[in-house]
Amino acid sequence: MSFRDLFGFALSAVLQNRRRSGLSLVGVVIGVVAVLSLTAIGEGALRYVTSQFASLGSSIVNVSPGKNETTGAMPHGIGGVPNDLTLQDAIVIERRVQEIRAAVPVSVSTDVVSHLQRARRGPVVGATADFERLQHLDLATGSFLPESELDRGASVVVLGQAVARELFDEANPLGATVRIGSWRMRVIGVLRGRGQQLGMDVDEVVFIPVAASMRMANKSSVSRIMLELWPRADQDAVIEQVKQLLIARHDEEDFTLISQDAVLSSLSSILGILTLVVAGIASVSLAVAGIGIMNVMLVSVSERRDEVGLLKAVGANQRQILFIFLLEAALLSCAGGLLGLAIGTLLVAIGDLAYPTVDLVAPVWAVVSVIALSLGTGIVFGVLPAWRASRLDPVAALQGH
């Protein structure tokens, strides 16, 4: 008994009842498409987040005030913490830790920005010249905040794209004066539009020197300090060094150090788990499809009792009959798997074209496992019908009852 012959025999049986075979295929197709597209979405989200972080530069460490026990949580902005982070902290860190290229204190507040009759309320970010490089900001016109002593805040402002358009329409804002709260600031640059990035819309923001921001809010503390590491710096060592330095200055660990890498890896693992969960739910539909195949095979066996009886009469043994019917079930599920793969890939490709920002690709592990799973489903759920066929009493089967 050669595999090819039995394959041909099983194939002829599958093709004999096209409609029924087709219907049982549909279940598998739906299951496979569901798994493929859902994992593609999960994978796409993961890639999106990763690329967003990459655009921020992964060798960035954030220092924020307050002690956070959970490393994955985002630091809070302004809080009444006992020992706030100060400009002096930033200066000391930059000066003392060699592997740090820049320590950028950031102060975030919300205020009304106005020009003539127009006003809008939005985030005002106090930063330094280094912030431009750190965040990969692009200027449409003018320049970013000037290099200067940290505590010397000039009255200048760089506008986000959306803010500039709203306050000035098409007019050139360079050199104009805007009011932020009750302070007058001269516009020295406008950012190129970039859109949403990790929850903060850069287009909606205005940037001013950090000292100016603190003066406006009458604060002595900053929201956080962003540390830019030199390439190939040992991140863990730097974090430890900064930690000791700040503990020495504050007498206690009342701050939190989080690297972008840590945030990224915890986000990745959350997304990864979500993808797995969703894929798991989708594979339930594959199990349901398997039951469909089992049903079809049971009907097929009982309809072809006389054929089974004949196979036995001409000398097929139980193993051979079991194999024939298992092969039939496997053929059904395999065809369903391949068809599902084709349709799923097509859908994912269409989705990828429709949403260019997210890179939709079904991960290889999902493709491989969904094919293996659909094949396995057919075999597992084909066992019972095939076993039944192999155990049929040939005399009764030939008599058709």
Binding site: Q16, G309, L310, A313, G315, A316, N317, V395
Partner: protein
């Protein structure tokens, strides 16, 4: 040689026991042509199934060429059916989706004959029953007589020594029935042992020997030439014989 001794076949239906065979003893020589006759429910088909290793006796012994077959396991029985026995059924039992030549090839698939070899042998077997021009026809494109000839080609393609036919002409008109009987006679003349279950005295008449069964027992043995009328055959009253003839002519 085939020999059965004290063969019983008992079916349990709920609390009742149904004895299809009650202590059958019989010996069939190699190359013999034996007809088994008897009214419906007399156990003749059961006997044929046991002889064909499709059914196992509840009690008794069955020697096929000196080997006790009654004690064999499923696989060995399948192997015996494959190599040593050919079946011919009243309702042909061809696989509808396969062509004539594919139907004939089927036993050789399970025997592991290589595809090229198989095709050649199947064609030769079809040629032997005069159906070379119908190789690629499916069963629904064949007449009843042609179907039965395909089935005969299938039963002989593995060259078994024993051919078993259960009412081979039961579904055929008299002309194709006669053709099929001629074919069977030819195969018998070629040296095969042939056992035919039949209702039809004209079929039985062509056998060397006739065994008459009733209620699971062999009640009469006679030579084929002696089969004259149904009354003498079944040992019935003339009235019952007429009724039997009427029902027997219709089918099983």
């Amino acid at each position: 040689m085939i020999r059965v001794e004290g063969l019983w076949r008992t079916y349990t239906m709920g609390e009742d026991e149904l004895h299809a065979l009650r202590g059958v003893d019989e010996a069939i020589e190699d190359g013999e042509y034996v007809a088994i006759m008897g009214p419906s429910g007399s156990g003749k088909s059961t006997l044929l199934n046991v002889l064909g290793c499709l059914d196992s006796p509840s009690r008794g012994r069955y020697f096929l060429a000196g080997e006790d077959v009654a004690g064999l396991g499923e696989d060995a029985l399948a192997e015996t059916r494959l190599r040593r026995i050919g079946f011919i059924f009243q309702s042909f039992h061809l696989v509808p989706r396969l062509t004539a030549v594919q139907n004939v090839e089927m036993p050789m698939i399970f025997a592991g004959v290589s595809p090229a070899d198989r095709r050649a042998r199947a064609k030769a077997s079809l040629a032997a029953v005069g159906l070379s021009d119908r190789e690629d026809h499916r069963p629904n494109e064949l007449s009843g007589g042609q179907k039965q000839r395909v089935a005969i080609a299938r039963s002989t393609v593995m060259d078994p020594g024993l051919l078993l036919a259960d009412e081979p002409t039961g579904n055929l008109d008299s002309r194709s029935g006669a053709q099929v009987l001629d074919l069977l006679a030819e195969l018998h003349a070629g040296g095969r042992t042939l056992v035919v279950v039949t209702h039809d005295p004209s079929v039985a008449r062509r056998a060397d020997r006739v065994v008459v069964m009733r209620d699971g027992e062999i009640v009469k043995r006679l030579r084929g030439d002696d089969v004259s009328d149904l009354g003498s055959l079944f040992d019935l009253d003339p009235e019952d014989a007429a009724a039997e003839a009427a029902s027997g002519a219709v089918g099983r």
